[in-house]
Amino acid sequence: MSLSEYCTPYAAFFGFAGVAASMIFSSIGAAYGTAKAGIGIAGVGQFDPTLIMKSLIPVVMSGIIAVYGLVMAVLISGDMSPAENYSLYNGFIHLAAGSCVGLTGLAAGYTIGVIGDAGVRAFLEQQRIFVSMVLILIFAEVLGLYGLIVGLILNTKTTAEC
């Protein structure tokens, strides 16, 4: 199937929209996770400062969500340049991949924030709950990873023909 009539000049709009979706939504998720878990950690620290270091895990995991978005955005923008052929097909693939990573990152970051906040407050009262908190946080983190996997698979399907 010939793609010649679909190498339109406006295909780059959708590609860049994918880059933006990937970075923006995962940033929003990571920001919510950092802030919400941070509130809980600051509260916990006031009662028992020795627990703060272990309680930083939700914040680190939110940072990882942002890194997923960064990775996909870098991958997509690496495929785009004004000189080479860029079809609408590529544009929509990049939009899909970016939206995948971004929206799953938004969901994962939100979850990590809520779980982190509740988890560290429970950790303050009962130290053995740490393992459960980490397990639930891992399940939340893996949601973002699913998006990254699907985004990466989509990204490999781009074609250079026009």
Binding site: T8, P9, Y10, A12, F13, F16, A17, V19, A20, M23, I24, S27, I28, A30, A31, Y32, T34, A35, K36, A37, G38, I39, I41, A42, G43, G45, Q46, P49, I52, M53, L56, V59, V60, S62, G63, A66, V67, G69, L70, A73, V74, S77, G78, M80, S81, P82
Partner: protein, 198 residues
């Protein structure tokens, strides 16, 4: 809630516009490709540059007022915290500086082109990259500013209780501020390959 209402309003407006075009015999004008290739690349570029600074500064301002109110409130009884917690305010301010720097970098791609040579594939690429790059930097800095602001607020309140807690809660702020840096990196990457308008 507001976001849902905004999206619904946008969808309703475009639906009504589309229906009007179809029913009056001009349905072929509802064409995303025609819209994207007939709007000037300058419009995309300039809107991106404006949003870059504007949204970043909104994030910085939001963070500063969240942190500042907590510092001022806790500082009434624990006045020793007021100087050290200015670090949190500076973290938020830096987010606005990121937007400023990126806007200045983006304006280096602008040059005057008149006539139909403006609508070339390379110029479209540059216009779209400035728009989406600027929007990315702006919205990432917005999220970053709010996150740093909330973390700074909780750091100030913890510091008021126990001075040794400040440095530990500062770690959370540092994790928050990397989001702005990521936005900056992507903004630079996206516009690096775009040629100047020619």
């Amino acid at each position: 809630m507001v976001l849902v209402q905004l999206t619904a309003a946008l969808l309703a407006f475009s639906g009504i516009a589309g229906l009007y075009m179809v029913l009056s015999g001009d349905g072929h004008y509802f064409d995303v490709g025609r819209f994207l290739t007939q709007t000037s690349p300058y419009s995309w570029g300039f809107i991106g540059i404006g949003l870059c600074t504007g949204l970043s500064v909104i994030g910085a301002a939001w963070g500063i007022y969240i942190t500042g109110t907590s510092i001022l409130g806790a500082g009434v009884r624990a006045s020793r915290i007021t100087t050290k917690n200015l670090i949190s305010i500076i973290f938020c301010e830096v987010v606005g500086i990121y937007g400023l720097i990126m806007s200045i970098v983006f304006t280096s791609k602008l040059s005057a082109v008149s006539g139909p040579e403006l609508y070339s594939k390379s110029n479209f690429f540059t216009g779209y990259s400035l728009f989406w790059g600027g929007l990315t930097v702006g919205l990432c800095n917005l999220a970053c500013g709010v996150a740093v602001g909330v973390s700074g607020s909780s750091a100030a309140l913890a510091d008021a209780l126990d001075p040794s807690l400040f440095v530990k809660i500062l770690i959370i702020e540092i994790f928050g501020s990397i989001l702005g840096l990521f936005g900056l990196i992507i903004g630079l990457l996206v516009t690096s390959k775009a040629a100047d308008f020619s």
